[in-house]
């Protein structure tokens, strides 16, 4: 076992899948330039040397490249299409939402669309257009699976599961969790590295995990918010509040079984997300829990999220925008009181 960052683990995952299966290829901007960066966050670094014909470096044409991935997928290829920042998914929105997500359905189930899509999210000092957490937008689109790895182990396992899935899978990755190095390192980064097994493994899409066991309240969060939840749980333990932290890992499909079991035990839930509150993923989780386990809830589900504003640039405002451990602590204190 070796310790790897998310960027490294994803790179290994791509390499292994491309080695295993000739149909797998990568398509994206600045992903295959000798002397370049391996995409915006070093994930594909050097892969162009190993797979010169399967690293497709595109012009800046997001609609074009996602549409091309769809065409190739229908011909039996397994493309991994990425954007440099999740925000740019919006430039390919029609291809993703109208074409990729619906093609199988419109064909009456006669076509498979094995596409993996990768998109970095998270506010990182770059201003409103390189910062959005778009989970809430894609979450409501039927026909796309969505995963959100918070650790290197999960990143590799979910990526490999996504590539082997016969359906469109969108992977949201967090800029501050990559562990990108050198000139591409991020300030404010959080260590999300893991011990990675030598042998092949996947993390099944749709299965969450309990990150920390507890009895008083269930805190649910993915990506960076999972790490913040763990921090909060640690702090709250000192106050005698026992927090169970659940990382759903997949948003679509969602591991209701795991979350429900936890909430039946704790009787309280706090849902944390980095995106804006209104219409967020947290709303769905809260609404569902209210229907699914209403008899067990001793308090209404609480949501911790960003306010309904674009992401501001200046650090004091950005820090105010993004939920942190303190805000989770506060919400938990309120719900247990």
């Amino acid at each position: 076992m070796e310790r790897k960052t998310i960027a490294e683990a994803l790179r290994d995952g791509l390499r292994e899948e491309m080695t295993r299966d000739e149909r797998v290829f990568c398509i994206g901007e600045d992903i295959a330039i000798p002397g370049g960066w391996g995409g915006a966050f070093t994930v594909t670094l050097g892969l162009e040397k190993e797979f010169p014909e399967r690293m497709i470096n595109t012009p800046i044409s997001e609609a074009g490249l996602f549409g091309a991935a769809l065409g190739a997928a229908m011909m039996g290829m397994h493309p991994v299409a990425d954007v440099q920042y999740g925000d740019f998914l919006l430039c390919a929105m029609d291809q993703i939402v109208d074409q990729i997500a619906k093609m199988r359905y419109m064909s009456g189930g006669r076509i498979k669309v094995p596409i993996t899509m990768r998109a970095p999210v998270g506010a990182t000092g770059r201003g409103a257009q390189h910062a959005q957490n778009l989970e809430s937008i894609f979450f409501s689109v039927p026909g796309i699976k969505i995963v959100c790895p918070a650790t290197a182990y999960d990143a590799k396992g979910l990526l490999k599961a996504a590539i082997r899935d016969e359906n469109p899978v969108l992977i949201f990755e967090h800029k501050l969790l990559y562990g990108s190095k050198g000139a591409r390192a991020e300030s404010g980064a959080v260590d999300a590295s893991s011990e990675i097994p030598e042998q092949d493994y996947i993390v099944p899409i749709g299965k969450g995990v309990v990150r920390r066991e507890g009895t008083d309240v269930t805190v649910i969060g993915t990506l960076m918010m999972m790490h913040r939840a763990l921090q909060a749980a640690e702090q709250l333990a000192g106050e005698g509040i026992s927090v169970e932290v659940i990382d759903p890992r997949s948003l679509v499909p969602f591991d209701w079984e795991l979350v429900e079991a936890s909430v039946r035990k704790t009787g309280r839930a706090v849902v944390v997300e980095e995106g804006p509150r209104r219409g967020g993923v947290g709303a769905e989780i809260a609404a569902e829990l209210a229907e699914r386990v209403s008899d067990y809830l001793t308090a209404p589900v609480k949501r911790v999220a960003s306010p309904d504003i674009p992401v501001p640039f200046s650090p004091p405002m950005e820090d105010f925008y993004r939920p942190d451990a303190a805000r989770i602590v506060e919400a938990v204190r309120k719900i247990v009181s």
Binding site: I56, S61, G71, Y105, K145
Partner: protein
């Protein structure tokens, strides 16, 4: 009959099959027995027919909101198409697609894309797969004159160009995008001039002359198959029916419509066949009877076929 004559008659038959299919569908739609909305192909038959005649079995086309002609020319089959238009579970998309998403990948046609321009990147990607796997197959993207102003067109054609992909981009210039005349949407003499911006060849042909279309398509397809990259092929034609549904086309000048009817591709090709001694009126009438019978049979079987169960709606989201 010579091979050549057989081929010419097959072109005629395909065009007539499209025309008669569309006329029958229009009637069914207007009388209220067919659900949904329709965008029809009357007047443009030579384009789909000429282009698809230049394709091999393994080639793949992508299509638009106006796909019936493409589907027939590509061999999707009148029966599964008619069933789909009626929303029957036996349709080529099991009733989930409908008119605007008709297709059958096994026959070489991706379910049609109703987002204008949306199919062009998909064709580029199909060609990319062919090239990566070193298969000698070709992708064709059909699009209207309106589609060339979509960003998706631009991004996709540029990618096809830089990677020299085996793809042909076919613009069916019927002079209107919905109700808007072409002069209001581009400032070009020939739409194929747009090829200059991508560094690929552009060709404009009379899209009502099935043989001219076929020849131009043959050249473009051969280029693509030989690894020489895409062609932007403009076929100038005219839609002699409404844009969709019950469109009375008041925005088309009367004189223009009259002129267009004189130049429509089927009567014109019939004249050519007769003048060249390839077929007489009797032979052509025979083809028409055949075609009508095929369509009629499809209507009958479609009307008799089963509707999907309502809860079938829940299937086919994921594999």
């Amino acid at each position: 009959m010579s091979q050549d004559a057989k081929f010419l008659l097959s072109l005629y038959r395909t065009m007539l099959l499209i025309r008669q299919f569309e006329e029958r569908v229009k009637f069914l739609f207007l009388e209220g027995s067919m659900p949904g909305t329709i965008h029809q192909y009357q007047g443009q038959e030579a384009v789909a027919t000429g282009v698809c005649a230049a394709l091999n079995a393994g080639d793949v086309i992508t299509s638009t909101h106006r796909p019936h002609g493409h589907a027939i020319a590509r061999g999707v089959g009148v029966e599964p198409m008619m069933h789909e238009l009626f929303g029957k579970v036996t349709g080529c998309c099991h009733g989930k697609g409908g008119s605007m998403h008709i297709g059958d990948l096994e026959k070489g046609m991706v379910p049609a894309i109703a987002i204008v321009g949306g199919n062009v990147p998909i064709a580029t990607g199909i060609a990319l797969a062919f090239k990566m796997r070193k298969e000698k197959r070709v992708a064709v993207s059909f699009m209207g004159d309106g589609a060339i102003n979509e960003g998706a067109f631009h991004e996709a054609v540029n990618m096809g160009a830089i990677w020299s992909l085996p793809v042909v981009y076919v613009i069916e210039n019927n002079l209107y995008s919905a109700s808007t005349p072409i002069a209001q949407t581009v400032k070009l003499k020939h739409l194929s001039d747009r090829s200059a911006g991508y560094g690929i060849p552009g060709v404009t042909v009379d899209g009502n002359d099935v043989l001219a279309v076929f020849e131009a398509a043959k050249t473009a397809v051969a280029r693509a198959r030989a690894g020489e990259g895409p062609t932007l092929l403009e076929c100038v034609t005219y839609r002699i029916t409404g844009h969709s549904r019950r469109d009375p086309c008041h925005y088309q000048p009367e004189a223009e419509r009259k002129q267009a009817l004189l130049k429509e591709p089927i009567g014109r090709f019939a004249k050519h066949l007769m003048a060249a001694g390839i077929a007489g009126q009797t032979a052509l009438d025979g083809i028409r009877r055949e075609v009508d019978a095929e369509i009629e049979a499809s209507v009958k079987s479609a009307m008799a076929a089963a509707d999907p169960k309502p809860e079938d709606a829940l299937n086919d989201v994921f594999a």
